[in-house]
């Protein structure tokens, strides 16, 4: 287990390093000088230089890369070119919208997918199975931002149950904040729930065909008991992988959904930063999200290896 963990941590560090180099280089080729952009046309050469110095834009690429990554390791993401505030503060503010939204969507997706997948697997080939599988086909084909717009039309504009967009913040209590995140979370969760339900169903069908299920049935367990105690547990491995992968989809997918609902999350931050050429913000948010994805995948891998020793030998 320790050797396996060591190997995985090594590849984790390498991945993070390569990712940071790729992101840094990608934004290195962007034309334009942020300092000149901030100060406008009529600017003196030494003012420009002073600002470049302040923003850490002077010096070679290697030096700037080192100061960028070195800063991030200490929680210092640099200073936004447009807002002149620390990027880490901006990210922290927005994270309070994006993270709860992703978790909310993940919870909804799991809550829908588990019963649907289990039900479909138990009644395999029946009308219920067909209906659930048909529903998941629709769920993966629907563009989630369009579904979000339709929900706004029905539930916000016509029925007036929800606001069409915006976020009241967490200061006004949990209720209004959660309510504001509900439609976005449903829109985000729908495709993920469809995928998850399909994985759940096929994983269950696989395990239900195993000998140990027959043994369990032979020793007198009912179908439901055999399913709960034996099949479900073994079916969870592929299901957990997908849930781990979905977390990254949810964080990134939120970028578009946040725009539909005008939610002040990381996604809108990235868009505003792109249009203002505020590249340090883009760079840092992308790096942070990639870091989150790599860490989640690492955690999922470690959880498996801990649960299932057979996986430790494999890569």
């Amino acid at each position: 287990m320790l050797r396996y963990a060591g190997r995985r941590i090594f590849s984790l560090v390498v991945s993070l390093w390569v990712a940071s180099v790729v992101i840094f280089l990608a934004l290195e080729v962007v034309p334009g000088d942020p300092a000149a952009y901030m100060l406008g046309l009529n600017v003196q050469e030494d003012t420009l230089n002073a600002l470049r110095e302040e923003l850490g834009l002077n010096g070679g690429p290697v030096q700037r890369y080192l100061s960028w990554t070195g800063g991030m390791l200490q929680g210092d993401f640099g200073t936004s070119y447009t807002y002149r505030t620390p990027v880490s503060e901006m990210i922290a503010d927005r994270l309070w919208v994006s993270l709860p939204l992703a978790l909310y969507a993940l919870a909804l997706s799991t809550l829908i997918a588990f019963p649907a997948g289990i039900w479909a697997a138990r009644r395999r080939g029946s009308a219920v199975d067909l209906a659930i599988m048909g529903g998941t086909q629709l769920g993966v084909a629907i563009p989630n931002f369009w579904f979000a717009m339709l929900m706004v039309l029905v539930f916000a504009i016509n029925l007036r149950w929800f606001n069409a967009g915006g976020f009241p913040g967490w200061d006004g209590g949990m209720g209004p904040a959660i309510k504001a995140l509900t439609l976005p979370a449903i829109a985000l969760a729908l495709p993920q729930a469809s995928i998850l339900a399909r994985v759940m169903r096929s994983a269950l069908l696989d395990t239900l065909g195993e000998d140990y299920i027959r043994t369990a049935r032979a020793k007198g367990l009912s179908r439901g008991q055999a399913l709960r105690r034996h099949a479900l547990r073994n079916a969870l491995v592929p299901v957990l992988t997908i849930i781990g992968l979905q977390f990254s989809f949810l964080l990134a997918g939120a970028i578009i959904i946040e725009n539909v609902f005008y939610l002040p999350g990381l996604g809108r931050l990235v868009f505003q930063a792109i249009s203002a050429r505020d590249l340090i913000v883009v760079e840092s948010v992308v790096m942070l999200l990639v870091f989150a994805v790599i860490m989640v995948n690492f955690a999922v891998d470690m959880a498996y290896a801990w649960v299932d020793p057979r996986l430790r030998g494999r890569r």
Partner: protein, 271 residues
């Protein structure tokens, strides 16, 4: 399951046919603005109504289909063009440093949320259809590389490959003559799935303004334009969304049907 192949095939054929037809004929010219005729609900003259510039929505959808299909197809070609050779190479030299580098590279691309990178690429190089293609295409590469490697690995243990090696064929030639033809079916099925994902991705990118730029019509942008008018002109939001939904659904059904048809063994496993 032959039904899904038929239904999916027919839907895909209709969408492709409409896109091709739009080169020679559309119900109404989409470049002629007709403000007097703006935001009309569906009628006999304009089957799906008109938009905020008085343009015929059906005609816009037909022309927009070209953008979606072109972006998604080129992205799949990029994915296959790089992914398949990489996968074949990794399988031919399994366990070597080449295999290791290719597979770790794949893992790395997978670690980037695709949409985020698409956004970053368009942030760096500017929005546009070509950059959307590149952004979507890059993420198709690891999909095809993994699929090809996985399938090729099991083929390398077959007797006919052994026979070919005994006959003195090199790894490159075996990959091209014996491995590749036997993974083609899998590639076709995966290609269909990536094609439908590409259509969804293109729609998402152009919805946030990072895909094809005006005046080129695209389904995603039509949705973005309709958003502020959704309360009094819901038809403007309804039809582009339905077009995306139907196209993606058709392609997915076709992919499922193709898999069952081309590989009956997989079909049994899936059920």
């Amino acid at each position: 399951m032959r039904a899904s192949l038929w239904i999916g095939g027919v839907i895909s054929a209709i969408v492709t046919g409409a896109a091709v037809l739009s080169f020679v004929w559309v119900p109404h010219d989409i470049e002629a603005l007709n403000i007097a005729n703006k935001i009309k609900p569906p009628s006999g003259v304009h089957l799906l109504g008109t938009d905020h510039f008085g343009r015929d929505i059906l005609s816009m959808l037909m022309v927009g289909a070209r953008t979606s299909i072109a972006v998604a197809i080129v992205a799949v070609v990029i994915g296959m063009g790089f992914g398949v050779p990489l996968g074949l190479a990794a399988a031919a030299r399994t366990g070597s440093w080449l295999d290791e580098v290719i597979m770790r590279g794949n893992d790395l691309i997978f670690a980037f949320p695709s949409l985020l990178i698409a956004i970053m690429i368009t942030a760096v190089f500017g929005p546009g259809a070509v950059n959307a293609i590149i952004a979507i295409g890059i993420f198709n590469i690891p999909v095809f590389a993994r699929l090809t490697r996985g399938a090729a690995l099991s083929l390398w243990t077959r007797d006919y490959v052994l026979a070919a090696r005994v006959a003195g064929k090199g790894r490159l030639r075996i990959s091209a003559e014996h491995i590749l033809p036997n993974v083609t079916n899998l590639l076709i099925v995966q290609g269909t799935i990536q094609f439908s994902l590409g259509i969804l991705a293109e729609a998402g990118l152009s919805y946030v303004g990072l895909g094809a730029q005006p005046p080129v019509p695209s389904w995603g942008r039509m949705l973005a334009d309709s958003q502020t008018m959704i309360s009094f002109a819901p038809h403007m939001a309804l039809f582009p969304g339905l077009a995306i939904l139907l196209t993606v659904l058709g392609l997915n059904l076709m992919g499922d049907g193709l898999r069952d048809w081309l590989d009956p063994r997989l079909a049994r496993d899936a059920r």
